[in-house]
């Protein structure tokens, strides 16, 4: 019952965020300097024909008062109509849909790889000998401080052009996924590993851990059965970071490795001032954020049941 109410509130908050995102896109469309119709088709450089401008004015109702436009804008978004890309001559939803699979594949692979790496390193190195900890901390700092695009260039230099192990470009087959996923996963693993290790070291000092050791538990049992669960909570609260790092990283990685995907679609849309596509991606990312957050909140409840009462 409490869990249900909690989910209810979270859903409501999520809808609030989505509404905010929709409003933001509306504001962007209407407060960008210049004639809105022109802005929608790609700015001054696009040199649209009068017919296209007339079509846009009709589609977006640009001749009606702002509140009617706003209502219509929200209505279109609710029904899944994110507008049309006049550069690609396709509806935005279709343009995004065609690219989604490649990005999801990349992001999920990287997320899993990053998490596994972070947990493994943290579990093995927390509270060990000084040099082990120092080494782990140094490695984390290095990968977390490395920009994705440079990491990618280094990976390409070594593994594609040097050792010729993996292809440099493309989005087909497992081999083409290895380098981009690694490139996306490593910095995330660095940040998560750092947070996780600090949390673990703190937990391993807690009296209940000493208590568990005093019951005769082995070090591994103490780490896995007691400490890990506590150390996971700070990771869970970093949802915003996760989603941001994956989406932002995908933009860079896809560009660098010339892979298909939403990230590359976005970069070319920004370059071409293709506003409907940019705003479509914004709405999509808000949706993803809300959904991921919901799942994570439930995970959070599973990890720390004490929160059920707070909820």
């Amino acid at each position: 019952m409490r869990t249900l109410r909690f989910v209810g509130w979270r859903l409501l908050a999520g809808i609030g965020v989505l509404w905010g995102a929709a409003t933001l896109t509306f504001l962007v469309l209407h407060f960008t300097p210049g004639d809105p119709a022109e802005v929608i088709v790609g700015g001054e450089g696009a040199a649209p024909t009068p017919e296209v401008l007339a079509q846009v004015t009709a589609e977006y109702g640009l001749d009606r008062p702002w509140y009617e436009q706003y209502a219509a804008h929200l209505g279109r978004i609710v029904t899944g109509d994110f507008g049309t890309s006049y550069r690609l001559h396709t509806p935005v939803t279709r343009a995004i849909g065609e690219q989604a699979a490649a990005t999801v594949e990349l992001a999920l692979t990287a997320a899993v790889a990053g998490l596994v790496l972070a947990v493994a390193v943290a579990l093995f190195t927390a509270k060990r000998r000084r040099w082990v900890r120092g080494l782990a901390a140094g490695a984390e700092l290095l990968v977390a401080s490395t920009p994705t695009f440079w990491l990618g260039i280094v990976l390409l230099t070594v593994f594609s052009f040097g050792l010729r192990l993996f292809p440099a470009t493309g989005s087909h087959g497992v081999a083409s996924l290895v380098l981009p996923a690694l490139c996306l996963a490593l910095p995330i693993a660095g940040v998560l590993g750092h947070v996780l290790r600090e949390a673990l070291e703190e937990v391993l000092d807690e009296p209940f851990v000493v208590s568990a050791r005093a019951r005769g538990l082995s070090d591994t049992a103490v780490r896995v059965r007691h400490a890990l669960r506590h150390a996971l909570t700070p990771l869970v609260t970093m949802t915003g970071y996760w989603v941001g790092a994956l989406l932002g990283g995908a933009v860079i990685t896809e560009t660098l490795f010339t892979r298909q995907g939403i990230g590359r679609l976005l970069v070319s849309a920004v370059n071409a001032k293709d506003l409907p596509v940019v705003l479509g991606v914004v709405l999509l990312s808000a949706l993803v954020y809300v959904l991921v957050n919901l799942v994570v909140d439930l995970l959070y409840l599973a990890i720390d049941p004490r929160l059920k009462e707070a909820a």
Partner: protein, 522 residues
């Protein structure tokens, strides 16, 4: 044969020696108490017995044996068989010694899984038996709950159940009653006594001589890493041989110490009779989120008088103090200071009531030095700039510190010094009343003695009145003139301390008084 034999144990952390040559034995079925103040090395000694001395510790011993087995040569695997299996360990503060994310039953089951061959269902049945025999009502329900769903007393019982689960020969209890209310303390001590009667040896670590008096067969008093005195409990308590033991015993506030000094043998000067009424609270009450925190509380406080408020956690004593301080406005009733009702904006009145908290460090801005802390208080009191430094030094001298402390940061002071600075700050605006919210609860007994003596000296000198909140009945009995006993937001009894404590009228007061640990009980 002795179960534990420790000879010339030395422990150092880095370059700091913490235990400097400790020797003792515990016989089968015997209870030894290690007593000392913080930093005496008592907990480190206890932890060394299970090989959990801590990170960076260097342990040396002439001999360290358990049931004839040499512990100095033990490897990790051997330690694990001992821990929980043959030596049960109850840690200080049950709130943090149980994994907050795991069910209580699972924690106890863990011991059985590690040290017995019992299959799952049998283990769970045994967990329920253990909880029941540790005095946990409804063990079926409790085993499935998380630690925070249990009261402090029940958590401590669950920890004890886990410690005895694998039928160990020795149980070590580190400050087993410290965070508990006094009535619960008594019950936990009874439970430990029961464990001793089952024939197990018991090592109890405590800072409180009175607590161990009713449990221990022998007492070892530790100070700065050495045992200064060791002997049968009754002998150590009645005829202490070492100065430090005598000092500790004298420092314990109780009924018979009233009107005497705790920190030294100097005679206490007489106190003047209470003067006019400075605070009058009439029927005050308030509630948080629909739950009444305080209801219908009335009291008066006179100049030069100390009024104690006692009660267990959640009784509403701190809320009452905050209302008296004017920090929480009451929903009902009135508070008058010098005959005028509290108004939020009257600063002159504001200065008349000051406060001293349990944790003085948290009550100082972390960026401030002692000089700045006092200067701020003096500024508010309207002391002109050129006289502030001189006045600050006077205040520090009044609380037993000096000008050399002005430039220090509170973080670099000891707990007792911090509390002295807090008292100096409270005195700066020249108040008629100081609200003291558990001001000595976090202090060692000898420091507590100094602070309590200081509070009496200050009162004699300035005529200030104290509203003194405490859970420690001994402290209240020693210091206060009158007392309010609170339970569930109500005052259940009030009157002069002697009357309330010696002839308690209300059943709850009787229960409280009966639970006070007394040295004489040994």
């Amino acid at each position: 044969m002795s179960v534990v034999k420790v000879e010339d144990l030395r422990v150092r952390f880095g370059d700091t020696p913490v235990v400097r040559g400790v020797s003792f034995e515990i016989a089968a079925g015997e209870c030894l108490a290690l007593v000392g103040e913080s930093g005496s090395g008592k907990s480190v000694t206890a932890r060394t017995l299970v090989g959990l001395t801590g990170e960076g510790a260097r342990v040396e011993a002439g001999g360290l044996a358990f049931a004839g087995q040499d512990l100095t040569r033990l490897r990790e695997r051997g330690w694990r068989r001992l821990r929980g299996g043959r030596i049960g360990f109850v840690l200080q503060d049950a709130l943090v010694s149980l994994d907050p994310l795991r069910k209580v039953g699972k924690e106890i089951e863990e011991v059985l899984a590690a040290h017995t061959d019992l299959p799952g269902p049998a283990r769970r049945a045994r967990v329920r038996e253990l909880l029941a025999s540790a005095g946990v009502p409804d063990p079926e329900l409790r085993a499935g709950q998380l630690p925070h769903e249990l009261s402090g007393g029940l958590r401590q019982r669950a920890l004890i159940a886990a410690a005895v689960a694998a039928d160990p020969e020795l149980v070590i209890a580190d400050e087993p009653t410290t965070a508990l209310d006094v009535t619960i303390q008594a019950q936990v001590l009874d439970l430990l006594a029961g464990i001793k009667h089952e024939g197990r040896s018991l090592l109890v670590i405590s800072h409180d001589l009175a607590v161990v008096a009713r449990l221990a067969d022998r007492v070892a008093v530790m100070k700065d890493g050495v045992i200064v005195e060791q002997g049968p409990t009754a002998r150590v308590l009645t005829e202490p041989a070492h100065d430090y033991t005598r000092q500790l015993l004298r420092a314990i506030p109780a009924e018979h110490t009233k009107g005497t000094r705790l920190s030294d043998a100097a005679p206490a000067a007489p106190r003047p009779a209470p003067g006019e009424v400075v605070v009058r609270a009439e029927g005050i009450g308030t509630s948080f989120g629909g739950r009444a925190a305080v209801q219908e509380v009335s009291f008066t406080l006179r100049q030069g008088e100390t009024l104690g408020i006692v009660g267990e956690s959640g009784s509403g004593k701190t809320t009452t103090a905050r209302i008296a301080l004017g920090l929480t406005p009451p929903d009902t009733g009135t508070v008058e200071v010098h005959g005028r009702p509290w108004t939020r904006r009257d600063r002159a009145q504001r200065r008349d009531v000051q406060v001293v908290y349990q944790d003085p460090l948290a009550s100082f801005d972390p960026r401030y030095t002692v000089a700045k802390v006092l200067a701020e208080a003096l500024t508010v009191a309207g002391v002109p700039r050129e006289r502030r430094r001189g006045r600050a030094v006077e205040l520090l001298e009044l609380v037993g510190l000096g000008a050399e402390h002005l430039a220090r940061r509170p973080l670099r002071l000891s707990g007792g010094q911090r509390q002295r600075v807090a008292i100096a700050r409270a005195l700066a605006p020249g108040p008629s009343v100081i609200v003291c919210d558990e001001p000595v609860s976090a202090l060692d007994v000898s420091v507590q003695a100094q602070v309590l003596d200081l509070l009496e000296d200050v009162q004699r000198e300035t005529g200030v009145a104290y509203l003194f909140i405490s859970h420690d009945l001994g402290v209240v009995h020693h210091l206060c003139d009158r007392v309010l006993v609170m339970k569930d937001g109500h005052v259940v009894e009030e009157g002069p301390v002697e009357t309330v404590f010696n002839e308690p009228a209300h059943p709850y007061t009787r229960e409280l008084v009966a639970a006070i640990p007394r040295l004489a009980a040994a």
